[in-house]
Symmetry: C2
Subunit: 402 residues, 2 copies
């Protein structure tokens, strides 16, 4: 029987995993309405001016600004109405001195006109329009290309698409764009006593939980989870599934193996086929996590206990998947709170302690790491630094929300 191997500090573990979980290179075409949260894999060069023409910025009358210089409420300038342009109309009449054209917001400016007088400052009688206020050249006019010029890079390679950026794609008339594929994440549940959900439990068996929580973390981190069937503790079936997973996925996550024997089975295969870089973590709930590179692909082995597995998924798997998906690190939301209960730290390890927030109190969730309900109730976690022996009730703490 092997022990868990040397403990490494949390940050070292992070660094090692970071080095081997690299952004995926494969791209795909995607419709812009399906692209929210995806990462652009090309520069978008403007093919059009936006707006494509000078246009009215207000409802009113297109004029030659020079005609309005002396206009006032007392002495309105009277212009002759020679045309009316509704939204979407194409101007056909050229404007001459002393004339005006009624125009709707957004409509292309007629040739000759250089400003728009807002409808509020006018009065119309038949085809005579009184102007009550002077305008300067380009007043209430949106200029061709003032937003985007043809040839501009309007969106750069590698940006994550939010609603505003999808709007920019639409402004160029693009229906299909190139984005990075989501990293495919094979989830390999193992364990002799584990049963798939939906099946009936026999004595001694429990439902497999980790593949479903891992799948959720993968999804919210921008990956595409593929849950494999549960592998029994049998070297041949683990090898078969692992080979298939390495073949199909960008990263493999094994879960379960709550006993030393099971963990050994998997670690032995990883060592035989590749290089095991981490056997453990210097953080409390993450001790039995492993990390290996096999056939050029990263393999992350998660602890079997559901709460440890989920906490480690938030700490290591989520960030790795985001990196592989070209997504920026998650914006952590941190909340100040007071510790609801005295907790004890550890000399050798940084601890990540799930807490529930009640008002301004961070209430530690002390359920053992085998309890899934612990993390299900938690709103986030606090970090207890290495070599902290005790944190007192009411001590100020910073909670990182899940």
């Amino acid at each position: 029987m092997k022990l868990f191997g040397e403990l490494v500090p949390f940050e070292t573990a992070q660094d090692i995993i970071e080095r081997y979980t690299l952004p995926v290179e494969h791209t795909q075409g995607l419709g812009i309405d399906a692209a929210l949260g995806r990462v652009l894999a090309e520069d978008i060069i403007a093919l059009h001016y936006t707006p494509p023409f000078n246009r009215a910025g207000m409802d009113g009358y297109a004029v030659i600004s020079g005609d309005t210089t002396s206009a006032s409420k007392q002495n309105p300038e009277k212009l002759k109405l020679v045309d009316t342009l509704y939204a979407g109309s194409i101007p056909t009449v050229k404007l001459s001195a002393g004339e005006c054209i009624q125009i709707a917001t957004g409509t292309q400016m007629p040739v000759g006109a250089d400003a728009v007088v807002m409808v509020e400052y006018t009065e119309r009688q038949g085809d005579e329009v009184s102007i009550f206020k002077p305008v300067s050249s380009l007043d209430n006019v949106g200029l061709k290309g003032e937003d985007i010029k043809k040839g501009d890079v309007v969106l750069k390679h590698s940006v994550c698409l939010d609603a505003g950026k999808i709007g920019v794609l639409a402004s160029q008339g693009l229906r299909l764009i190139k984005v990075y594929q989501r990293p495919v994440v094979a989830i390999l549940p193992t364990g002799e006593e584990i049963v798939e959900i939906g099946k009936k439990l026999k004595p001694g068996q429990i439902y497999g939980i980790n593949s479903h929580t891992l799948s959720a973390v993968v999804k919210e981190s921008g990956g595409l989870p593929v849950i494999f069937p549960i592998t029994r503790d049998n070297i041949e079936s683990i090898k078969t599934n692992l080979a298939k997973a390495l073949d199909e996925a960008d990263i493999v996550v094994t879960s379960g193996g709550s006993s030393v024997g099971e963990k050994d089975l998997i670690i032995n295969i990883l060592e035989e086929w590749g290089k095991v870089l981490l056997h453990g973590r210097k953080i409390k709930s993450g001790k039995p996590t492993t990390f290996a590179v096999v056939r050029g692909k990263p393999v992350l082995g998660m602890p079997g206990y559901p709460t440890s597995c989920l906490m480690n998924a938030y700490l290591f798997l989520g960030p790795a998947i985001r990196r592989m998906a070209h997504l920026p690190p998650k914006r952590n939301i941190e909340v100040d709170a007071k510790l609801g209960e005295r907790v004890t730290g550890s000399v050798s390890r940084k601890q990540f302690l799930p807490v529930k927030i009640e008002g301004d109190i961070a209430q530690p969730i002390f359920k053992k790491s085998r309890a899934i309900t612990g993390t299900a109730k938690a709103d986030g976690y606090i970090i207890i630094a290495e070599n902290t022996s005790i944190m007192e009730k009411d001590e100020p703490v910073m909670v990182t929300l899940f």
Copy 2:
């Protein structure tokens, strides 16, 4: 020609919209792996104890704790090995005084045993096991139901499902659960000059942007967007599409209508068919927004200019959709910054000013509201209170991130 109607304060507008955009009632069955971010529409009652039996919490030897009372490194207690239980094994041998059973973590405890001695504190020679350390009753044993008891409400109606809560569902073996349906949001783009993406622009035309940005905001707020074809400024086609949208969707969002004439067309229909509750907003970029209730369904009319439309979507549409989807309000992320440039406020209106964050500077994005690139570059917005005439460069501001 009608003017835009009275301005109401931002908060009043929010209240009115809130009153008429209520959580949807229809539910659906959904597989748990598809349920991330969805809202549970039933209480989940535990059908099983979790764990379903007392089990070993460590790899080691199941013992009768009383047998180990005087065990020490110097004077080990010697017990007779009578069975070996691997993960998933069902115990068949009853333990008697002076005996022990080798057991793997997570495995059901054998009858008679009340504690587990960790393998680190033992030494085995043939079928004789030396115990170096005493254990108390229940040491290293996970108790049946310590996590979840049969009959417990493990998840309550209306919770939003995150990874941990999906784990709780899995622990009960559930494959299918009941969740609220996503509110269906009909998006009705209007405008004579608007063209669908992918088509070629003719003179005087521009691509429709708003339906795509609105669709993205609806999605990220938990709704199901349905983009309708563009409606020309024609009362019959607007009526046909609006009737269809009211029939199929939980809420209708019209977009476009950049000219007063178009807006009038829609408002007239809304007034004819239902009740218009808001004609405008006392916020700068949101002035031409309307809100009506027609045939019992909320109708939100967004301004035509892309940046105004998107800003208003973040302020009004997103929160409404989250409410309809039973989701809690979005957790706003706020960042302290210094204003990068002097800005002027307004006497009568609260302003929401998009800004880009550069280091600790919030740089206002001054592009006119017709420019989609403005919001695409913005990281968030600052609020300029009513009756604030000027905010100086370097003044501290709070940026709400999009």
